[in-house]
Amino acid sequence: MLEEHAKIIQFIGAADGITGRKKLQKMVYIAKKLDYPYKEKYEFHVYGPYSHELTLRVEELCNMGFLQEERQDKGSYVQYKYQMTDAGEHFTQMAQVEEATPALVACIDQMKGKSSRFLELVSTLLFFDHLPKEDQIEKLHAVKGKLNFTEEEIADAYEFVMNLMNMRTIH
């Protein structure tokens, strides 16, 4: 029953809250690409890979009181912070989803420490991971030209993915 919903609560719980809708979208996508068991379907969107299903699940979970959404006014823009509630924690126990593995917790922790711009870069490169590396970079510049990602950022993104993959193997 609502196992996929419960896994999202657990993800946000393991992160001890996530600030930014974009950040949440990219974190779940990256975890999914690393073969963690998330089923949300993604397609390419304004800010890279985006899941309508995930948006819907998060909204439902907020309505159910299993997640708390806090609107933070940042002046020129607004940001949303998501946190697991006590009812949400109870629900994940009732739903009997498997506990987050140490590898997943470590992966979430690493992603949480990065900016949403960086996660947008990482997830966009992963979206094109079926292409050779030079084509991935070419595609990145084609669809994200306005963001002017530097060579250094791109190299960092590849290294970041390698680290996350190694982390999955070690754990």
Binding site: M1, E43, H45, Y47, Y50, E60, G65, K74, Y80, A142
Partner: protein, 431 residues
């Protein structure tokens, strides 16, 4: 003359109930329509299980795909032709993308993808780029043409005008399916003045805008969409059929994994059960194949597979109640327990299902935008977001409507037999 610009000696037309005629002049388009991967779409219904509620809804993804192509053809050949903001060299690309945008859909897509964790968009790409007839045809245009078509459908193509024609809040895909689904279901919703919208669409920089004089036609389109979602697409009886269909596939998969000896070997599904299927195996599946298996499975010795198959084939669907999971998830656990005690497996016979729709969304700066908004071109040349001009659209903008239901086989609970008191207790809880 190159293959890309080659025209048929005479225009071909398809008679169509929605657009009257679908016109084909390009050799490439004619060849793509004749490919076996495109012809396969004749065997996949546009609305899945909806025909069990609206008996007319037997139309296919083939006719919808032709319809989307025709709408885009009218836009680029009539409305955009000669306009400096439109790059006419993109014409064939956008026509091919319109025609092929649903190529990867499997049989009863939603349920099938859910059970086997697949994504039809991914398969559209695989069919376009794989060893297929469609790929052979597109490659004759240019080596990178199949990839370009895949990029437009995957929304990663650099020219956003081209992408918007196929995928945006007012695109050819929606304009066709709303009218086609309304026609075949027979409902009186879903109608709007498409001719008017096509006449006022304009290419502008990296988007398509609507002249403000066409605002009321767009309002009508958005309201049509809203009504069709709740009257047709989310119809609870159709959802009930889809729930059963999903559970049939779940059961067959679980039986296969447990080594169950099927009376009729599910050869067509084996690769999906064990995750080893090939693109050709994916393409070999259609709704005829699935329905044949369901018919055969009615006589399987596994009682759950046999019962669920019987229900689907003979339209003996699950009953449903409104169910607020936030309030009632403890009750859900109680129900699961009682179902088990009554000998009814809740995994297959107690199903929670949600439907949700956002009729129109506008862009909020700094937020992860769900959708690119519809922009109006004002007489002054200024571009204004639709909900800022239209009171009707403003009233429904950003407002999501959600519906939660719990599905169960009422007949199991009301039939005479054992555990009557227990079943009565379950029915009380389901009131």
């Amino acid at each position: 003359m190159s293959y890309a610009t080659q025209k048929l000696s005479e225009e071909k037309v398809f008679k169509d109930p929605v657009h009257r005629y679908i016109h084909v002049r390009d050799q490439v388009i004619w060849d793509v329509i004749g490919s076996k991967e495109f012809q396969r779409l004749r065997r996949i219904k546009q609305l899945g299980t909806t025909y069990l509620v609206f008996h007319g809804a037997e139309h296919s993804r083939f006719s919808h795909s032709l319809g989307v192509y025709e709408i885009v053809r009218r836009i680029v050949d009539d409305s955009f032709d000669g306009r400096p903001e439109w790059d006419a060299s993109e014409r064939l690309l956008v026509l091919c993308a319109a025609l092929l945008h649903d190529l990867g859909h499997g049989p009863f897509s939603h349920a099938f993808e859910n059970v086997f964790n697949l994504d039809h968009e991914e398969f559209t790409g695989k069919i376009l780029l794989g060893d297929t007839e469609v790929n052979e045809i597109l490659k004759r245009v240019s080596k990178d043409f199949p990839q370009k078509v895949a990029d437009v459908i995957g929304k990663t193509y650099t020219n956003k005008q081209v992408v918007s024609l196929i995928s945006s809040q007012i695109d050819a895909d929606r304009m066709d399916y709303l009218q086609r689904d309304a026609y075949f279901t027979g409902v009186s919703y879903g109608h709007f003045d498409m001719e008017r919208i096509l006449r006022v669409m304009r290419p502008r920089e990296d988007q398509i805008v609507i002249k403000s004089s066409g605002m009321h036609a767009v309002e009508d389109y958005i309201m049509s969409r809203y009504q069709m979602y709740w009257q047709v697409y989310f119809h609870p009886v159709s959802r009930s059929a889809e729930v059963i269909l999903t559970k049939i596939l779940h059961r067959a998969k679980a039986l296969s994994e447990s080594g169950y000896d099927f009376a009729q070997q599910p050869t067509h599904f084996q690769g999906f059960f064990d995750g080893t299927f090939t693109l050709n195996e994916y393409l070999a599946l259609d709704e005829g194949v699935l329905l044949t298996y369901f018919q055969l499975w009615i006589t399987e010795k596994d009682p759950i597979l046999a019962d669920l198959s019987y229900r689907f084939v003979n339209r003996k669907l699950f009953q449903y109640i409104e169910f607020d999971l936030a309030k009632d998830y403890v009750k859900m656990k109680e129900l699961e327990l009682l179902f088990k005690k009554a000998g009814i497996d809740p995994e297959y016979y107690l199903v929670f299902d949600s439907s949700s729709d956002l009729p129109y969304d506008f862009y909020r700066p700094g937020e992860e935008g769900e959708r690119i908004p519809i922009h109006l071109l004002m007489p002054s040349g200024e571009i204004r977001e639709l909900s800022r001009e239209s009171d009707v659209v403003e009233a429904i903008s950003g407002k999501r409507r959600t519906d939660h239901k719990l599905y169960f086989p009422e007949d199991f609970l009301t039939e005479d037999g054992k555990k009557k008191a227990l079943k009565k207790q379950i029915l009380e809880l389901l009131k």
